[in-house]
Symmetry: C2
Subunit: 249 residues, 2 copies
């Protein structure tokens, strides 16, 4: 398998591609070009920023898989999200500490933008600020869905739902199809996102496989009976479409 490099050389290219699909005017483009941006590469399992750091940057994932999580004193952690290409990380209040960690899972490249510079630009290009709000709203939609997942769905449904969500997001980012997608997550990482143990995740994956709904093996998620899986998980992918720039202007 393996294909599609899905790398952008420029932030503008990334913003104009799926899933963001921004449409800028000349002033916006000028503003974006004036931003101090660096494209950074991270090896697998490397921390981008850490819980407790006073980070002053905003990140837009360009390629690879990462995760945003919160470490607990107990040693457990809760993964909030797995940002993919086009997903933003670290949009936050200035002058406030981070309450989460952003780390790579696979090799990953991200655009890093100085928070200060971004703030300055927002002051000059209000349309961009609308776009940033849209991105924040998109991320919130993910969080709300994950919260619903943990609070009111059992382990089997929860696992199914996450596999479907990441499938749609991978497809949006040009990294998958209706049939399936490459997923580098370990069962431990799934467990930390699903509020389960890796052992139980393993059993749920087996169950889903034995019911001929979806097979997750060897780093590949293969939808066998996607309609059945959608029905099981009560999956509504519309929430994932939120947050695009498309409707602006």
């Amino acid at each position: 398998m393996g294909f599609m490099s899905n790398e952008s050389k420029s932030l503008l290219g990334l913003l104009e591609a799926a899933p963001i699909k921004a449409r800028f005017n000349d002033a916006d483009i000028k503003a974006i070009h004036s931003l101090q941006i660096s494209l950074k590469r991270y090896p697998p399992h490397t921390v981008v920023y850490n819980q407790g750091d006073a980070v002053r940057s905003v990140y837009i994932t360009n390629s690879g898989w990462g995760c945003v999580y919160r470490d607990l004193p107990s040693g457990d952690r809760q993964i909030m999200d797995f940002p993919l290409r086009g997903d933003t990380v670290g949009l936050r209040m200035p002058a406030v500490f981070n309450y989460n960690t952003y780390a790579s899972i696979t090799e990953m490249s991200v655009f890093e933008i100085s928070q200060h510079a971004l703030n300055a630009i927002v002051l000059r290009s209000p349309y961009l600020s609308n776009g940033i709000m849209a991105l924040m709203a998109r991320q919130r939609a993910f969080l709300i869905e994950h919260l619903t997942n943990l609070g009111r769905r059992n382990a089997l449904v929860r696992t199914a739902h996450l596999l479907l969500e990441m499938g749609v997001r991978a497809k949006h980012s040009g990294m998958g199809t209706e049939k399936g997608y490459s997923c580098p997550l370990t069962q431990y990482e799934l467990a930390d996102a699903l509020g389960l143990t890796a052992i139980h995740v393993n059993r749920m994956l087996r169950e889903l496989r034995e019911q001929n709904l979806v097979a997750f093996r060897y780093g590949e998620v293969e939808f066998i009976n996607r309609p059945g899986l959608v029905r099981l998980a009560n999956f509504d992918e519309n929430y994932l479409a939120m947050g695009m720039f498309t409707d602006f202007k």
Copy 2:
């Protein structure tokens, strides 16, 4: 008991008070005054907007308790948050359906602002747009904490954590002290926020009471041994301070 009316006649007054503590310049104030705002009252247990509505308004809670939740086809629901005075609800993408419901719990008054008008204002007053982003970041901090709660804390700790969080937020909003606060939530509502059954919430509350940590009875939360409770819940209230305007400009 009963006291402190905590009502504002104007949005400006609300924004400048705790917990938001905004500081505006003349242009901002002018912009805010130009907004088409109405102060609406809702009786207890009334829907402000519904899942599926194409709502075009943003809300800022002025007084009373409400809740934001998502209904599931199974008949369950997941409560995302209990917004109090000064908390915003409904900041979202334009032209997108809601994926949650906002309803009152007690009698409640909220400022309703047309999304369209707000967008227009943001285009003219970038400082305000920064403020709105701050408010969104504040809400996200709540969501992240709730997600961590559901994913990686057991029922007792989870319950303790929520009682502490709402205590701090009530205090921020001028509705409580270190000793306790009035809390109109039923055990069913707590359960829907905590991802538990009301029956189990009842047992956890008894446990917390018997351990002389906190008593929740007759609509009053009374902190008996707050340090002990904070220790049990690993509660760090700093995340609640996020999202204020204070550091801007």
